[in-house]
Symmetry: C2
Subunit: 122 residues, 2 copies
């Protein structure tokens, strides 16, 4: 028997969610989710996040088509971080890279570019 | 030629860092880092984080021995999240699981327990 895990959204009412490619294991991006974003993700099977700068719920890939089908949502021990295991359409990063983590801290590019952002975003 | 990437710590002066097992690709944990935590990680090669509850820098594994040797640090496109690629000694989670993300959101345990916390923490 299992019980749904309580999430600890805290005062900010949001927690970080990490998207990981379910097949390759590559960590694709980190964004934030509210309770509503998690609900929408579960209802639709597509990753939703909350934009802190735009202050709104957004569906990943709504404009680019680079949606994330969510195979599984995991919760960490404290209930204050999520892991989305996803099938990523196209690339996760708006720069055209497969992963937003395409650089080392020393500025070396280690990721793979999978699309041309000029052709995707108008 | 590469230049060190500027990190966007923002008003909170900290950003999330995701630790991923460099070999298996498993996402192990998410914690927060300050500028000082990143410096200490780079100096020592061992993952350091900043505890929001204790308000202090901490070295992962300082009490448990379950240190993380950091092979590489990656930065995301916005410079406001880090990815530590690590060799994890023992397990990452204080509960004894290899990863802190050992449960699905429905409460099903999917992770592997690799140590007994009662024997590690006194």
């Amino acid at each position: 028997m299992t019980d749904e895990v309580d999430l600890a959204f805290g005062e900010s009412e949001r927690i970080p969610a990490v998207a990981q490619d379910a097949d390759s294991g590559e960590v694709l991006m980190l964004a934030y989710v509210t309770s509503e974003a998690v609900e929408r993700t579960r209802e639709t099977g597509l990753a939703h996040y909350y934009s802190r700068s735009r202050e709104e719920l957004w569906q990943k890939g709504a404009s680019s088509g680079h949606v994330q089908e969510v195979e599984e949502i995991r919760v960490d021990c404290d209930g204050d971080a999520l892991l989305y295991l996803v099938d990523q359409e196209g690339g996760a990063c708006h720069t055209g890279y497969e992963s937003c983590f395409y650089r080392t801290i020393d500025g070396e590019t280690v990721g793979e570019r999978v699309f041309d952002p000029d052709e995707v975003y108008e």
